[in-house]
Structure formats: structure tokens, C-alpha cells
Amino acid sequence: MNDQLNTKQPTAIIVHGANFLGEKLAEILSSQKTNIIVIDEFTRKTKKTLQDLKSKHKAKIYDLSGVPGLSTEIKRVDYIFILLDQYLVTTENLSSKKFLSETNSIDALFKIALKQSAKVTLTTTISGHRKLSTIKPQDTDKLSSDRSQNPYTPMELQRYAENLAAEYHDNAALNIRICRLGEVIGKGMPLDSNTTFVDMIKESITKPRITITGEGLDFSYYINSLDAVYGLIKATFSGKTNGEVFSLSYPEEISTLSLAYRTLEMNPKAGEIVFTESSGDEGPPQIYVPAKNLTKIGWNPRISFEESLMESIQYFYDEYNLKWEDKPSQKDLTDKQESLKAKAPRSERVTTVGKIISSVTSPFSRLKEVITSTLSSSKTQKVSLGQVFKWVGISLAVVAVYFLLIAPIIQILLGASLGYYFGNKGYKQAYSLDTDAAQKSLERSSYFTSLANTGFQNLRWVSYVPGVKNLYQNTSNIADGAEHLSKAGNYLVKGFDPYAEYFNNFEPITTFDQNTGGGSREYLNELRSMEDGVQYIESASIEISLATESLNDVDTSIYPASIRNYIKKLKDTTAKLDETIGTVNEFSSYMPEILGEDDRKTYIVLFQNPMELRSTGGWLTSYAVIGIEHGQIRTMTVDDVYNADGQLTEKVDPPESMQKALGTKEWNLSLSNWSPDFPESAEAAEYFLKLEDKVVNVDGVIAIDLQYVSELIDIWGEIKVPGESDPVTKDNIYDKVIEIHKEFTPGSTNKPVFLSNLANEILKKLLSDGKSKISEVSKVTTEALDENHIQIYMHNSQVAEVLDNLGWSGHLEPKTNIIYPVEWNYGGNKANYYIDRSTTVATNIIDENTIQQKLTINYENSSTQNIYPEGDYECFIRIFLPQGVTLVRVEGIESYTVKESSSFQLETLSGHIVVPTKGQHSISVTYRLEREDMTDFPLEIGPGSKLTYRLNFIKQAGLDADPITIQVSYPDLWEPTDLSDIQREINTLVKRTNLEKDEDLVLTWEK
């Protein structure tokens, strides 16, 4: 067969095609260059149609009985149309053999379709489905009056065919759709079907009446034959119909009574409508919901029901060889259509409102159809145990994949990126003192980093993959650390929120140039909120400690270099934060007290000029007294130190060491900072101010130097100060101070006026621009505290302890292997301002018990003339060394003495240095440290042959960040273990830096 069929063209099989529908279908398909195969029973009735199909459309004809054998012969099939409806409406009950033959054919066709991937369209009837859906079990007998010989009804065949189609679709993915046709009317309609329509038309033509049994309220769906064909084509070629069941009919069903009226209108020859009694046992009308209409996919009947009715009547007349007299014209038909619409029962009329309601409710009707068909199909669907296990297994697998893979990945990606985004945002908001917004951002950051960490933990199973465990554990620790850090940030913002409030709301009621305070604005609420804030800072410190613990376990070496640096930076920053947060926490608990929460606090501020070097940083040029109560500045006065000393009425003897060093006979405020220990010097200054009746009770002393002031000015670039012709900048402030000193005479107010004006302007800038400059101000101030440009002494011993721990107190204490050179410029000039200084500490670790150290300081005086403020640099130097050292050699220091300082528990080597104008000078001190002579030997021997060496070089306040070189030579067999910031030169470790602040050096080796 296939030799005759062109296999390059599509092939369509039409089963039960020997009828009008089949013929029309063949006509349309063959016009589209489709090979046609028609399968039907060879009977007298079908003979002519089959011959026409063969001759007109070159169709290949097969008998139905040969279907099972077709599968081996057909090489290509694209479409299969099983027009079962045509068979169903013209068939009475079937015998078992017939039923089996039909069902086997259908089964074989489905198999062919599967094999050939063909599209299948199965047509059945709406009326058959209606009967099937309303059937009651006890009514089964009523469908077949002759059960013994022909036990199967057409409905049962329909049911079998539809169910078989559903099974093939569900289990084998057969591409099939079912079209339930309404009663086919119009040209070519089957004339031998025993339907109400056919009987009515026949009667209207042959008899002068139309008989209706009962009330005529039974309804039926109809479809024009031509529309049916086009509908089948549409359904088959549409991509949306696979697996679907459609009704192929006019959308509305027509009642028998309505049909009768319409027939009478069209064919008045019918005469009248006669009602007869029904048998009475039909029961109440059953509600029937047909399958969705094919109009859902865009098909619409082209021929109206009235036209179809007219066609049908004409068809009957032609078949009976009768002439239709009084056939209505097209115009009459149109008029009749309109009038019939008007006369039609209300339910059959479509009004505008009805259309709107229909369009609104149609989705719900459709939903109802879906639910109904699902429920009805589910009622009949049997579920095997295997399917249950299969679905349970699939569900569990989906849940497991979601929770163990998909959700963690989403959590990690989103959590990490959003956590970082909100954390960054919160950080910036906090720095601009927008703490409310910062809290929200950091809470979100905390949430998302916690989310990312949760995702990591849910991916724990990954650690069992070979080679991934180490990476997973380290990354998990980083995630853990990040979560703790983000919580810490959240707590910190809450803790510092009161401070931000205080800063934002603060308005001083007095300034530096007013001696009396006034006004009533106080900040008690803000101070009390600071107490609450301490709790949050405490919680933050715990979180930071937990973060440090997690990050300490991270091995950065397993990561690529590009990431390693970020992780190392995170570790270092966290460790640093951990070191300071505890102390910040302690300090913050005292802030309310410091700001006068309970009573007025009085503080002395000493202005030190490092151009004339003194023990604590510089010559005491001026002082201020500030009174703070309830967070408000009550008093602020600035005065020159000589004015204060001018009121000293009693003679005070200087310390003995000062007398011997400088020959000083009288001591006063301007010389009070003789001790290099700031708390001691602060107490001395306080003593003098009390003697001079400048203060009564003092709670603390703060020293600031010109270096800090110049850095503050640099934040704004310049500051206009009243009384100054040009703005004050970082570059000219030193010159201005020198100028003022040149012009100074005791009793004049130039200096205090300038300083108070400058202080006022700085305070105004801080309060007006504070928010935008807060980060720069904080940075400059913190650096100044770390570098001793600001030193703070508090009477409250707990606060003093905190300041000691932070290194902000200027307190001199016996540290391990301390080297502390302290210079005092006694030349009466500012020569040290012109001195360039470089320091070298050369350590030779001879063995585990003996160390030799040499301190060398080189001076170069760039003064060009011996005229104030330049000139020879005459200095008294004291070098503090650990107790128990043995001096080997001293060079460059005149008349030096070595004495044990009991107050500091240190050795003090002191003497005089002179560096001439345009000259250079060097000093060196060589000494030995022996373990047996010292209680705190700088070389510690730890477990596992680990050796640790410590050196503490203290930088004198007021000095520039001069270069320093530290060299440590060690025995050959020692291996240094940590060389960060250190260079190794054979057996010597070298560190070169600029001494901005105290240098705490720790070196370790393994033997």
C-alpha cells in the first residue's frame, strides 16, 4: 500500500467515514494534499459513498475488520478521525461479536497512532453522554430491550471508546481529543436515526401536524453538518486540544417545544402542534453539564440553527423527492430569526445584560466544569498502591531537595548580598548620626546574615563530600562570625543611639568667651538613655567576642588570594574591635556621670604647645575650666597660664629631680608638667589652680596640644576667627601662636582671647557641621588620643582604670622591656620644633637569659639662626628603662646620672643634650638585661620550645612621628614564626616605621 501512497505527504485515516461528514472531511484534507484512508463497513448503504471517496479523493478504502492488520502495512499516519458518532446514531444495540470488533478496531487504531505519533480525534455524541451521565444502576435494563442477543447499547460502546481514549492518553501520552457532537443536522444528516428532530421533520413533511410527547421540555444540542466538519478540523489541528473533551454543537440547547414552533414557522404545511401524554415514568428532568464547547478554542458555528433547520427540511424534501412549497426566502428567514429570537423562551434569548453576566460568570462556570469533570473522573479512577508509593516518594524527594539544596542556596545568595547591602547602608547611616534609619538597616542586615548562616548550616551534608569538608567548615565559621558581627552592629547602634540624640539635640548655652552661664536647656533624658544604652553595648561586646572566636578558627590559606585578603582584614578588624569594645563598654557606663548626670562636674583643660617640649607634651600655655551639669555646659573660661601664676601668692618648691636637673627654685602652673606621668602632672596643675583660686573642686584634667587643634582645623580647611585678618589653617596656626607669644606680656589678653575665639569657632563648627563631619572628627580625635595629643585624667578611679586600658591616660607604668626617652626643652625657645629625630633600638639576644640593647637617637637641628623661636636645642633628657638593667655604655649625654625611680619602678638615666643651630648630635645608651637580675625579663620561654620577645617603646607626647628602626638579632637555631610587618635579614629581624604612638613589639621564634 505504501508504494502507492506518497509518504512525503501527510496521511489521514477516517474511520466510519462513509457518510457526509467523512466525505466532507476527505474533501478538505485531500485539498490540503493529504493522503486519505477510509475505513468502514462495506454495506449496501455505504457502497456509493465509498466509491465516491475513492474516485473523487483517491481515498484508499478498507473494511473495518481489517484494522488490526493495518499496523504492519502503514508506514506513515498523521491524523486519525474516528467518527464513532455517525455509527452510534445509526446503530441499534450491538452483539458481543460486534462490540468486540469495534473495540478491537479502536484499540488497534490507537496503537497505530502511538506508533506513528499521529493525532487522533474521536467523535461521540452529546446525547449518548447525557444518557450515560444520568443513568441509574437500576435503569440499566431499560437501555436494552433485548439483552440476550444484543446486550450492548451504543452508549456502552461510547463509554468504552472514551475511557479507552483516556487511558491511552494518560498512560501512553497518546495525542487524542474527544469531540462530542450534537445531533448533526443540515445537508447530509443521517436520515435513519430515530431522533426527535428527524421524526419531527419527517412528520412535518408527511403529515399535517407535529406531535410532541409530554410537554416538549426535553432539550437537545444540535450542530450543522458542515460546521461539524470544520469543527473537527479545528480541533485536530489546534495545539490546545490534546487530552481534552469538547462539545461540538451550538452553544445553547433547544427544547422540543421550541423546535416544534420553529419548524411550524418555517413549514406551515405542518399545520399544528399536537401534545400527547407521556408514559409518565420519566422522572424529573436531570441536570446535565456538557463538556466545554469548542467555541472555547475559537471555533464558531458559521451556519445558524435556523439556516440548518431550513437546510434539513430542504434535505428531507429532496430525499423524499418532494417540492417544498412556501419555502421562506432568505429575507423571510432573517425576519423569522429575529422574531423567533423575540418569541423564544427567555432562557434562549441573549440580552446585553445577559452577555455581561455571562462573560463575568463564564470563568466560574468553566471552573465548575473542571471540578465536576475532575471529581467525576476521580470517582471512577482507581489508584494502585504503586502509584501511591510513587507519589509519596516524589513528594518526599521534592521536599528534601527544596530544604537541603534549593532553599539553602536561595538563603545564602540573598542573605549574604542583602546582609552586606543593609550592613553597609546602616554603617553609613550610623556615621551620619541617623541612628533610627541605621537601626532599621542593621536589623535587616542581622536578619539576612542570619538567613545566610542558616542556609550554610542546612548545607552541612556538603561537608561529607570528599575534599569539601575543610572548605565548608571554614566558610561556615566565616558565616557564623558575620552573623555575630551583624548582631553586634545592631546592638551598637542601639547602644550609641542616646549619644547621637544628645549630639543632635545639643545646644550650648554659653561659649568660651562668656564667663557666666545661663538658660535652662538640659539633657537629663539623654543621659539616662545612655545608661540603657550600656546594656546594648554589653550585648554587642559579647557578640563581637563570639565573632572573634568563630573567625579565629578560619584558615585563610585555603582560599584564593583575592578573597584571602578580605577574610584576613575581617579577622583583624574583628580582633581589634574585640580588644577595644570591652573597654568602650566600661567607658560608656561612666559617660552619664562624666556629663554631670547627678551633679556638676568641673574639668580643667590644659593647652600644651609642643613647639616647646615638656614632659607631658609641651609647654602649658593656657588653660580652660569647664563646668558641665545635666549634660549642659554651665561655665567655660579660658585664661593664660601666666595670668594664673601671677596670682600665686605662696612659694612652692619644685620636685627635687627638677631642682637638680634645671636648677629651678620655684614651681608654678606653667612648669607643673615636670612628671612624664600625666596623672601626676595633672594633679600638680590642679593643685596650682586651686592655690590660685581658679577652681574649687575638680573632677578631671584633660590636656590637648596644638597638633590636635591643627588637625581639627584641617577638617574644615580653614576657620575664620574674630580679630584675625586671615583665616586660621593647619599651616599657619603654629606661626600665629609664635607671633602671639612674641607679642605677649603678662596681663595681656591677646592669647586667651585668640584661644577662646578659636575654641568658640571650632565648637560652632562641630555643632553646626557635626553630622556631616562626625566621622572625620571621630577619626582625628581617636588618633589624637592614641598618639597622646590628648591625655585624660579622671578622679573617678574606675574611669581612670578604663582610660589606662585604652592608653589614653598618659600614665607611666613599668611595662616589659620599656624604653621611654623624655625630653624637656629648657632653652627658652622653640628649637625642638626645628629638630629632626631618628631612633634606633638594636637588640642582640645572646641567649635565652641574656639580652644586650642599644638605644641610639640622632638629632639634626634645622634652625638657621640662634634667634627666637629658633636656636640651639638645649634639652634635659630622662630615659626610663626596666629595673635591673646593667648599664654598659652611655654616649652623647652630658653629666648623666642613673637612678632608680621608686614611684615608677623604673631605672632613670638622665642628663643634658645640646644640639647646636644647623648642627647634629647623637646619643646612645647600651645596657644589658639578665634574667636573674630582672623580675620581668623580656624573653619568655613557652611550651613546645616557643620563645617570645617583647619591647615597649613609649613615644613622648608632643613629638612628631619620627622614624624608628628596631633591630633584633637572635641565635642561629631559632626560627621566627610570625613575620608580619617585619623584615628578616639573615639572623636579624628589622622593623622600620614612623613612631606615631607607643610601639608594642612582640616577636616569636621556635627553637
Binding site: 540573598l414 550585648s539 570591652g582 566600661e586
Partner: protein, 204 residues
């Protein structure tokens, strides 16, 4: 089914999956009373009775044991009941209640903070199965002994110990010693915050 419907359903399911991963609705089940995983709080004072407030709301008097509290951070205030109003200071503390654990607070309330002490022991869930300990004191630098073994000076960062009961003693020059029983649990860090009371100065 139409392709557009399929796309809509797929997008909907994807959005639901992402939302569930972010919002974690299953985690809120643990807060239901029926599920029973809630937080508990015990507050004791060494002398006299005190009122206990959480976030400004009074929840009882000491000795207080409160169950079925929602996990989270709270502002705790302990206010001693006394005939002399304002004589005793109030103890305020930010405390943390962790799900399925008990937070323990013991306070000795004096006329000021310097004459008061406070011990707070609470848990934080960790991701591993170890039992960890973190001890913090105010002021810092206090020496810690656990089961008569010296563990260093506060803050004593997490020390991995066996779960179960341990006896802790903490001491600092100038302050009263403090003891506490530590119950370590697997999967949790026990955080002990000890505010030490200054020892009165002895005058010869």
C-alpha cells in the same frame, strides 16, 4: 494546558519557594504553645522581695519563675520592695531569652550600683553540637575558676567544656567573690555576665 498558564504557575511556584526560603514560615511553628518550645526566666534576689518588670510590664515578684515567654531580647528591671522609697537602686538589664532554654538572673540590690551585684546566665544557640561557655565580668580582669581549675581572667572567651553541671568561682581584688552553678548544654553557648560588688574599704 495553555503555555502561558504553565509559565504563570511555574513563576508562582518559584516566587513561593523564594519567599518561603526567606521568611521561613516553618520556624514560627516553634513559637506555638502547642509545640512547646518556648523560653523561661528565673529571677531571684538575695535579700528581700523585689518586683520584676519585663519591657515595662510587671510579671511578678521574686523569687520568680516564668515559663512560656517568647524568645527575644527584653529590658529587665528588678525593683526592691522597701518601706523607704528610692532608697534602693533599680537593677536594669538587657536580657536575652533563647528558645527552649531558661535564663537565670540573681541580683543583690543595694542603695547604689556600687553596692549591688548581678549575675545573669543565659544561652545562645550555636550551630555545632558542642557545649560552650563565655564569661564576662564588670569590671573585667576577674580570675575565673571552674571546678577548681583556673581558666584565666575575664573575659574568658568560649571554652569548650563537657555538657552538664560545673561550679564557677570568680574573684577580683577589691570586689566580693561570686559563685555560680553552670549548666552547659550541647548545641548552646552559656553566657555568664557577672557584675561584681565592690568590697567596702577596711579602715584600720
Amino acid at each position: 494546558m495553555k503555555k502561558s498558564y504553565r509559565i504563570i504557575i511555574i513563576v508562582f511556584i518559584a516566587a513561593l519557594a523564594i519567599a518561603a526560603a526567606i521568611l521561613r514560615p516553618w520556624s514560627y511553628l516553634a513559637y506555638l504553645p502547642i509545640v512547646g518550645k518556648n523560653a523561661a526566666l528565673t529571677v531571684n534576689t538575695t535579700a528581700g522581695k523585689s518586683e520584676v518588670f519585663l519591657d515595662g510590664k510587671k510579671i511578678g515578684e521574686t523569687p520568680l519563675s516564668s515559663e512560656n515567654l517568647a524568645p527575644g531580647d527584653y529590658k529587665l528591671k528588678v525593683s526592691r520592695i522597701s518601706g523607704s522609697e528610692d532608697f534602693y537602686t533599680d537593677i536594669t538589664k538587657l536580657i536575652h531569652l533563647e528558645q527552649n532554654t531558661r535564663t537565670f538572673v540573681e541580683a543583690e540590690i543595694g542603695p547604689s550600683k556600687q553596692f549591688s551585684s548581678l549575675k545573669t546566665l543565659y544561652y545562645k544557640k550555636i550551630k555545632t553540637n558542642e557545649s560552650e561557655l563565655y564569661i564576662k565580668s564588670s569590671p573585667p580582669g576577674a580570675t575565673v575558676w571552674i571546678d577548681n581549675i583556673r581558666y584565666g581572667d575575664t573575659p574568658v572567651t568560649t571554652q569548650k567544656l563537657d555538657d552538664g553541671r560545673h561550679e564557677m568561682k570568680i574573684s577580683l581584688d577589691g570586689y566580693e567573690d561570686e559563685d555560680a552553678a553552670l549548666i552547659l548544654r550541647e548545641g548552646y553557648t552559656l553566657i555568664a555576665e557577672i557584675e561584681l560588688m565592690a568590697r567596702p574599704v577596711q579602715l584600720d
